[in-house]
Subunit: 616 residues, 2 copies
């Protein structure tokens, strides 16, 4: 094997203020690539399962991979990982924007933060130096302002990844926001909370170096083909025109859009929050992540609206659904405002929306009162939505309670509320409905970070996407459990590769980029000669290692389930045939496909096959 | 409506030593009959949901019904109810033998014990008196000896229902044993524990009165027809010849027999513990409950066996499976000994066997060691089985821990053990496998006392029983979820009627007694004119009231599930097509059939229809 052309790693001890640079061993890169894979390897090796996520002993790991900063389209991405304060399990969030490529321009593939700074700090990384600087002057600022101030005092072209007040206040689902008001977010599972617990306000990067590529000419050829595929795809055009929320109406029609905390299956107002309406009203621009040619990012503007001004990143599909249909809020300006607030405070919009919907259902069912909250929380009340985001992010009043996430809040409210606490392993469900796509049930049940649609991204393969390299030459039937266990296992392996290279899922999967082109890019950059199967095995290895981290935390089959509302309730105003997910069968097929025991534990044979040595 | 010909109730305050007699209002009898129905009504009205089950505020309610003591075949039964110390929910256990009819001969239909005696007592009830007597001389004695001693000091024909040392020691699943060494047991959910917590060692009854029957001649005609039906049934003959464990081999072949803590699907040694082998080896006689003409009860004898002597009640199917196949113990003499020990100590054999199997799996998986237990606990080790029964019943050493039941023990052992803790709502599963009969999955998930096959008794309707009155004119397909939700709801309603009349399920269901004959008997005895539908509505009312008790304790759909091992694991050595229960769909159908919300809560409309007034 050739030596690695990448793998520079920074290790920052925030307590000692020590900074070490090093090289990730080529063997680790060969087995885990970078991004998510590298994050997972470090987390597994260096964070013991009994670590309190908010203690200095947790690590906060940022990693990008060999694609970032190169000419590969849609590749400026990075992964952040830690033990999650929300789920107390393995957590990894992936983010677009420009921070990922900027880190490589500065000469690094990964940064690992250990221990805790005594006072608030930020870290400034450029070509020449790594500095730990005081962040006391930006502590208490929101993410947009923090980004602006830190750019001013470092380099106006520097890219800032930072936390807002929610991360500082240890709200359990705080996010890490980069690219200022364009807000690209590592949102899920509270990685911003871990950052807050380390008194780390921001990581500011600015670089000028060009990442190494072993064979530029070879790369150029593949990149060209990928670009053509993406640019010619009608999906790209739709995403560019209407953003991800262009699917709202289709999702509503199919029964994929969660409405009223997953109770309703139809909502005549879905149109009002759609990407088409956004394009015709508040949209003022598009945002492209580094090397992106799609541009699904929205830039929106509201001046003197009912809820004040909005300017910057607009809500994507998950946010529109979580803050909109899930709460029956049908005012797009309110959603745009709420989205901006979540971005500024730095909280995950999916968890935040789920909490508000949950609170609304508690209120309807008289499990909490206006006295508890300080005001009424009726379904569809945009003012309540906005006020709950304020209270939660600032951990004030009733918000201090919501700041713990749906699972813990439900435990406190009591049995009746646990019934409609919609989460898996403590992570609130994203905005796609397993009663519409069977594979989502098994995907949510087995995703390592809790309910996540991005770890498998399988549902589109049930409807319109084909992936011939994995044997999916025509779309599957979304209503049956047949072959879905295997589908999800295969897709998870693939997604773990994409998040390690890294490259955008939308670009690759929705636009039908041939997987061989990615392999070509990988070999051109690294100079290695891996096959598609080699890469998929790496994805499988990373997935299993993340599972092993969770197994050490106590996870097994008993936790691989989805909320009973989704398992047994077809919805209050559904008019289609009931399509409740047949989870037991799919889980069995899944374990078989994974080579796990029926208890959901990777077998020794499977671990040997994957060359995973450090057993729990 | 005519005045009630029954409904005499005794209320015993064990603290004040006060005894009150009274009449159950005719309206209550009309709406709840007696037995389980009356128990449930009293429990719901008088025990608040936050009651600590082992506090004096819990009630212990014994009730029989209008059939007991009459000429109706197989009718000498009684129900015992309390809030369970094992599940902390509604619990009712039903028992055959002769105690039920004897209570009616003494002039009572029900006895309610409240508060707690300062010192151990027993209560002696005869035609003329009710006395609270000291039981200090029998405290510490096993149930067989207690029965013998108390008969000697009251009336040699008196019938004793008592607890053994396990109930005294507050083992959470202590049983109430009647009929001395013939051991008829109210076994499940720890009603003997509640008895122990009240310092109540025994209730001794002796009566001579004949229960009132409104129309003797009319009763005689129906009784004759029922008797013929039962006596001519080949099922009766098999039960008489081989007892309930005559089905062991069939169950193993079909995949119904739980083996090795529900892991294996085949076991070549099943034959060794079958009713046929029992009949050819240790069987020395049969036992008939009061008015029984079947005689499934076994009397067995082992002299100078490997495990000592055995004489008296032999193990029934549930016991043979729980103490045998579930633990891979294939020595019938050992099982007979273990069964007698459970009877003498007064512990539930199903929970006890489940605990031993659970411990064996913990031992295999190195979650507990020989040092923890005091000895090795290998699969199939009969000595370990027997020693664990001793330790648990006496709450000594490791047994003090097992005395809490599988659910709590698993919580203490940790996550890995919770994976194979096989219970629903804290009650260990009985010995029929939902992967063989789909309806068992929904039956276990929704039974009010936790995993129970007797609350629905639906699985035989999937195989060979027909109940034309409920619309089941031919057996159903056990492998599909179709119509099983409705089946279980209907069967639960019917079973709640049978347990309220009371009458034996084997007699009625397996022998195909026309339900109209039961209605005839009921009307002949009471002088009322109820229809079959009236009775089924009563069953539905009782079931809903028990559910409401549980809803007040926090139960909802989230609790209506079965262990993941059963939901997703087809078993380690299965060779049939996978038949994992499709619980979500069945639960949805069930709630619909019940008129409950999708959260599993009876709707106001349903409660109104059932004239249930006291809402939680």
């Amino acid at each position: 094997m050739l030596p690695a052309v990448y793998g520079d790693i920074l290790r920052v001890d925030l307590k000692e203020k020590s900074i070490k640079t090093g090289k990730v061993p080529a063997e680790v890169l060969r087995n885990y690539i970078g991004g998510r894979g590298l994050c997972t390897k470090i987390l597994y090796d260096e964070v013991s399962p009994d670590t309190d996520p908010l203690s200095p002993r947790n690590l906060l790991i940022f990693a990008t991979g060999p694609f970032a900063g190169t000419s590969v389209p849609c590749s400026s991405r990075f992964a952040v990982a830690a033990k999650s304060p929300l789920t107390e399990l393995w957590a990894c969030a992936d983010c677009g924007g420009t921070w990922g490529q900027e880190l490589r321009f500065a000469g690094y593939d990964a940064v690992v933060f250990s221990e805790k700074a005594i006072k608030p700090v930020y870290v400034y990384i450029d070509d020449k130096n790594v500095e730990i600087r005081s962040a006391e002057h930006v502590w208490g600022q929101d993410t947009y302002k923090t980004s602006e101030i830190l750019q001013r005092e470092t380099d106006k072209k520097a890219v800032v990844a930072c936390i807002g007040q929610a991360g500082e206040n240890l709200v359990k689902f705080a996010s890490i926001v980069s690219d200022g008001l364009h807000a690209r977010v590592a949102g899920r599972a509270g990685l911003g909370t871990v950052m807050g617990s380390k008194n780390l306000k921001a990581i500011v990067v600015k670089g000028t170096r060009k990442p190494s590529v072993a064979d530029e000419r070879r790369l150029e050829i593949s990149v060209k083909e990928i670009l053509q595929k993406i640019m010619n795809s009608p999906v790209s055009t739709r995403l560019r025109n209407y953003g991800t929320s262009g699917v709202v109406e289709t999702a509503e029609t199919l029964g994929d859009l969660p409405i009223m905390n997953w109770r309703l299956r139809h909502w005549e107002k879905a149109e009002k929050i759609s990407g088409e309406i956004m394009a015709n009203t508040i949209l003022v621009g598009r945002y492209y992540c580094g090397k992106c040619v799609i541009g699904c990012g929205r830039v929106v503007k509201v001046s003197n609206g009912k809820y004040g001004n909005v300017y910057g990143a607009g809500p994507e599909y998950e946010t529109v659904a979580a803050l909109g249909s899930l709460c029956l809020v049908d005012d797009l300006e309110a959603i745009a405002k709420a989205n901006e607030m979540c971005n500024r405070y730095g909280v995950d919009t999916i968890t935040m929306g789920s909490l508000v919907a949950f609170t609304m259902e508690c209120f309807e069912k008289k499990l909490i009162s206006a006295k508890d909250v300080g005001f009424t929380v009726e379904w569809g009340d945009a003012r309540a939505l906005i006020e709950l985001i304020n209270l939660t992010s600032e951990r004030k009043g009733f918000g201090a309670f919501l700041a713990e996430g749906v699972s813990r809040v439900a435990q406190i409210v009591g049995h009746a509320a646990e019934e409609f606490a919609i989460h898996v392993k403590g992570l609130e469900l994203p905005m796609h409905d397993p009663r519409c796509y069977s594979s989502l049930a098994i995907g949510y049940a087995t995703a390592n970070r809790g309910a996540c649609h991005l770890e498998a991204f399988s549902h589109d393969v049930e409807r319109f996407v084909t992936i011939p390299e994995l044997g999916y030459e025509k779309p599957l039937d979304p209503s049956t459990p047949e072959s879905k266990g295997e589908l999800v296992a295969k897709m998870q392996n693939l997604m773990y590769v994409l998040d390690s290279l890294p490259i955008c899922k939308f670009a690759c999967i929705l636009d039908g980029v041939p997987l061989m082109k990615l392999v070509d890019c990988f070999n051109a950059i690294t100079g290695w000669e891996l096959t598609l199967q080699d890469l998929l095995t790496i994805g499988e290895r990373i997935f299993n290692l993340a599972r092993l981290f969770n197994v050490r935390c106590g996870i097994s089959r008993k936790d691989d389930t989805i909320p009973c509302r989704i398992l047994t309730n077809p919805g209050e105003n559904q008019d289609r045939a009931v399509n409740l997910p047949y989870l037991g069968k799919m889980l069995h097929d899944y374990y078989k496909a994974r080579g796990w025991s029926e208890d959901g534990i990777p077998t020794l044979g499977t671990l040997e096959r994957l060359s995973i040595q450090n057993l729990p």
